[in-house]
């Protein structure tokens, strides 16, 4: 297997259906493997986190985005650069809290859920919860502890899909203990 290490850092386009269907198969399997939806949500979040932790490196290497000065800039980068790069959509950023530490991403269409209809017996399943984990993991790697969750989901009958992001704290970089 030969891997091109010097390939250009442009994003390679791929068929988004393959991604959507693969994700669907994953969720379906998790629903079989676990008794309740809560547990599936948790697993999706965990997988997303593990993806996010790695994805941030790819993102930083490919985009020319530097360190964000504030949470508003972070929101812009997530919506306009990151979502565009990986999912091909640009959510709108709205509903800022007065303190500027909370905002919503409104997704016109959710690429993960293109062909999905949730059956009635999965009313508490957060189908695209992987996204929350990925956002959380990626931001944690750039020193931001953030709470991410779906506030609304068209799959559950809401009119839009809304991801709510709340800034918790900056993770301080410290010298490891005993390194004086």
């Amino acid at each position: 297997m030969s891997r091109q290490s010097n390939r250009t850092t442009d994003s390679k386009k791929m068929n988004s259906e393959l991604f959507t269907l693969t994700y669907g198969a994953l969720v379906t399997q998790l629903c079989k493997d676990y008794e309740n939806d809560e547990e599936v949500n948790k697993q999706l979040d965990k997988m997303g986190y593990n993806i996010g932790v790695r994805l941030i490196e790819d993102f930083l290497a490919r985009s020319s985005v530097g360190r964000c000065q504030d949470f508003r800039e972070t929101a812009d980068v997530i919506a306009k650069v990151a979502f565009k790069m990986y999912l091909g959509v640009t959510p709108s950023v709205t509903n800022w809290s007065p303190a500027g530490d909370e905002f919503s991403l409104i997704l016109e269409n959710n690429p993960l859920a293109d062909f999905v209809e949730l059956p009635d017996n999965h009313s508490t399943l957060v189908y695209s919860n992987l996204l929350c984990g990925a956002l959380r993991g990626a931001l944690e790697m750039v020193q931001m502890a953030v709470d991410v969750k779906f506030a609304q989901d068209t799959l559950r009958g809401d009119s839009v899909t809304e991801i709510r992001m709340k800034f918790i704290k900056r993770i301080e970089e410290n010298l490891p203990a005993g390194d004086e």
Binding site: R3, R7, R54, L60, G66, R67, V142, L175, D179, E180
Partner: protein, 148 residues
């Protein structure tokens, strides 16, 4: 560097650093350290290192990271300008930044981050990464040690 890693490549001309730093032809690559955010050394290799520190590598890594950490906090406190990027590198050579960025984007991310079997901590054990990095460093125009 816009990265999560701290790469530090020492390639200042050794004893005559002051007088010849502008002449890239006389530069050489001595060694490289890759640190993660927590200060553990993920990777180390040396090519033309003429002087050893006389302490264990583990101690040397700690000292090196401690120095970089201190420089960064010093720079961020002393700079009159807004520190967007913070401490980047000692400016010993024009192409250092580009080179370090290349190592991060095209080698570390491609071969370590995207390899699910390869976890960066506590230290990189990807043979592919090591050999590609070695080949890349050796291909740098300023790699070869200057004639004595």
């Amino acid at each position: 560097m816009k990265s999560n890693l701290k790469l530090f490549c020492s390639h200042a001309g050794s004893s005559a650093a002051g007088s010849c730093w502008r002449q890239e032809a006389k530069m050489t690559v001595h060694n490289i350290y890759i640190f993660d955010r927590n200060g553990s050394c993920l990777f180390y290799n040396e090519w033309n290192r003429k002087k050893q520190a006389g302490i264990s590598k583990e101690e040397e890594f700690k000292l090196m990271y401690g120095m970089l950490f201190s420089i960064r906090s010093f720079v961020s406190k002393m700079s009159p300008l807004d520190m967007k990027d913070g401490f980047l590198s000692f400016q010993t050579m024009n192409r250092a930044r580009e080179t370090l960025q290349h190592i991060y984007s095209n080698l570390y991310v491609e071969l370590v981050v995207k390899n699910p079997a390869c976890s960066p901590a506590p230290s990189l054990d990807s043979e592919l990464f090591c050999s590609r990095l070695d080949a890349f460093i050796r291909s740098l125009p300023f790699f070869s040690p200057r004639a004595a």
